[in-house]
Point group: C2
Chain length 195, copies 2
DNA sequence: TTTTTTATGTAGTGATCACTACATAATTGC
DNA sequence: GCAATTATGTAGTGATCACTACATAAAAAA
């Protein structure tokens, strides 16, 4: 998992995997079937619900708290010096040669699931009344995920943890401002686009 | 350039390059010296100042306009269906096997240069008075670049151009809110952290 | 124990990797 | 025209890729 996380699917060779695991190719193939299948199991372990900061964050009482904790908890993990920087789901399938597009699609689907979770939490916030009824869940979810994905690149560039938290301060200020425009739009009937 | 842009440094083989260029390996090596050197030339062409939306954006009269145009112009390029999605400098060196770390460092340095340009433009905005004197150029630059880098991943996931612009609306609302806290901090002596 | 099943290591599969020696073709200088 | 130089294609370099046939070793079943 750590090798795939750090070097990506194609940047990790079977030789690297077998030497890191202390086993031979035969054992690896008996246990996992193929490099593809092993990668998928590694991603599944990385993305397991019981370890997922995102899943945990969605339990927060308001949509805003949920999104903020999602950003902060994931960012903490991204810059944790004990693990490779950034998010495995975001980074490990960025560069693929022809013939491995399915790996990229699999990861894109997982990112889509995260987006769906955030979007659903936003919709619930609007229903619960902690967000304006007119809040655009698609835009807010895209915004939150754009910041989240950007933090993976920042982490790869060795971002300072404190500054990452300051970036999230700014991002949440943007969240609040955007939510306010939705509230205003609901009251005035406007389109909600910031001038 | 397009192959490296789309598949990354290691995801692009010499066979792909020679067949796309319609030349033989001999000619490629006579002209460029090595795959590394060709990649660097491709990145240089991609990142040329005369084509750079970022450089052009920095000429805007205020720091806010400069940052907003940087985001919008780059985002337009990221989702342009005529070119690979996302930013070559951000994406093409994400997954590297052992022994090619210098490629990653080279791209990270280019990202650092972009950050420095944005930071310098913010500092100038504070000097010019279109930003509060206490504005934290590091935080604002990191925030802008985090959103920018996140947009590359969104583009890879096939983000809708209109929704990308809406995300930038939210991001700029965040910029304004963050700038406001710096102004408030300057007036009240507070630390400037959004609660 | 003896047999059967399961797990593992050795050694090598063809394919592809980046790269190049060598020969031929095109171009240039005289 | 003729020699020197430059450019290009052919064919192959050793290394490494993901993967596996085969044989041996360990464990389980009889």
């Amino acid at each position: 998992m750590r090798l795939f996380w750090e070097h990506g699917y194609e940047g990790t060779s079977l030789a690297m995997l077998t030497s890191a695991m202390g086993i031979t190719p035969t054992s690896l193939y008996a246990a996992f079937g193929s490099k593809d299948a092993l990668f998928r199991e590694a991603v599944a372990a990385y993305n397991a619900p019981e370890n997922s900061p995102t899943d945990r964050a969605m339990l927060r009482p308001t949509a805003r708290e949920a999104v903020e904790e999602m950003l902060r908890a994931n960012a903490d993990a991204y810059v944790d010096p004990g693990t490779p920087p950034g998010c495995m789901v975001v980074l490990s399938g960025i560069n693929l040669s022809e013939g491995h597009e399915d790996v990229g699609r699999h990861l894109a689907e997982l990112r889509g699931q995260d987006r769906a979770k955030v979007r659903a939490r936003i919709v619930r916030g609007a229903e619960d009344g902690d967000l304006p009824a007119g809040a655009d869940a698609d835009v807010l979810a895209d915004y939150a995920l754009t910041v989240l994905h950007g933090l993976s690149v920042q982490a790869r560039d060795g971002a300072d943890p404190e500054r990452v938290q300051a970036v999230i301060d700014a991002a949440m200020a943007g969240w609040d401002a955007m939510v306010r425009t939705f509230g205003d739009a609901a009251r005035t009937g406007g389109a909600g686009r910031t001038p």
